[in-house]
């Protein structure tokens, strides 16, 4: 497994967890106060920051675990370098996920037209962005297994 492939596997778990945590935090705040007064900026920055760190650490941790596992089984740990196939799979995932990003932008424009509170604009952008990333990852995992 290349590092890219490991990272994709970690991301597939990180995005939904991050999304649920963020929604739980702002949801709890939203049930206590009107949405226009909720401070969602700090939770969002934290979520994005923790998400990035979790992806990096998760990738390293799974690589170490794989190496340790191979060592225990008495095999030599192998680290494959990323190659052109990884690149192509990444592009393919991005290509397939791009409609979600565009849809998110469209949803935000419509929400801005309707003059809804900024809280909803930010939340919908975060949700569509995370779903787009998750979808891209699922596409990439399928491509790793079944080929392009």
């Amino acid at each position: 497994m290349t590092m890219e492939q490991r990272s994709v596997w970690v991301q597939v778990f990180v995005y939904p967890i991050a999304l649920l945590v963020y929604l739980a935090v702002v949801g709890a705040r939203a049930s206590a106060a009107p949405v226009s007064e909720i401070s969602w900026v700090v939770p969002m920055i934290w979520t994005i920051g923790v998400m990035i760190i979790a992806i990096i650490l998760g990738t390293i941790a799974t690589a170490i675990a794989a190496a340790a596992g191979a060592e225990i089984r008495g095999e030599k740990a192998e680290f494959e370098d990323g190659d052109i196939r990884d690149q192509e799979i990444e592009r393919y995932g991005d290509y397939r996920a791009r409609h979600f990003t565009a849809l998110g932008a469209l949803a935000v424009i419509v929400l801005a037209m309707a003059h809804v509170d900024h809280f909803w604009i930010a939340t919908s952008m975060f949700v569509t962005g995370t779903i787009a990333a998750e979808y891209g990852c699922i596409i990439r995992i399928r491509a790793y297994r079944q080929g392009l």
Binding site: T101, A105, V108, A112, I121, A122
Partner: protein, 145 residues
């Protein structure tokens, strides 16, 4: 017309999309600029002009696509053109993601909804135009390696 100069179906409707997209956004910008003469710009009613220009241009593009498709004989695309399409779609992706990021920051800073919408609208228009131009160049000169 010689076979060599004939535009393929994909190339034709890509050109049509480029022209119509430009016309729509130019019209929209003119309408907003004219309206901003009398009102502060963030209070300009931008929603209907944006909807109408996008709908009219989208409808015109759909019509052009339909007419071209109806007049076209033979296969509409080939593997090379599918690759060109994919290459073009990806060229604009970075800018689209960037404008979504800018929009989130604008919302976080509590900037007026007008600016958020303009950022996303012009960002996604520019991103798709970059993609369209990349496709047209690739049709002419081939894909970069």
């Amino acid at each position: 017309m010689s076979e060599r100069n004939e535009l393929s179906f994909e190339e034709r409707h890509t050109w049509a999309g480029l022209a119509l997209g430009f016309a729509a956004v130019a019209t929209y910008i003119v309408i907003i600029t004219v309206r901003s003469q009398d009102t502060p710009i963030s209070e300009v009613a931008w929603a209907w002009p944006m909807l109408w220009t996008v709908l009219i241009a989208g409808g015109a593009y759909g019509a052009v696509y339909g007419i071209l498709a109806a007049r076209h004989r033979g296969p509409r695309t080939d593997p090379r053109e599918i690759e060109i399409d994919r290459f073009g779609e990806l060229s604009g992706k970075g800018l689209l993601s960037f404008s979504v990021l800018v929009a989130i920051v604008l919302v976080a800073l509590d900037v007026d909804g007008f600016w958020v919408a303009q950022t996303l609208f012009l960002g996604s228009y520019t991103a798709s135009t970059i993609g369209t131009v990349a496709k047209l160049v690739a049709h002419r000169k081939g894909l970069p390696l």
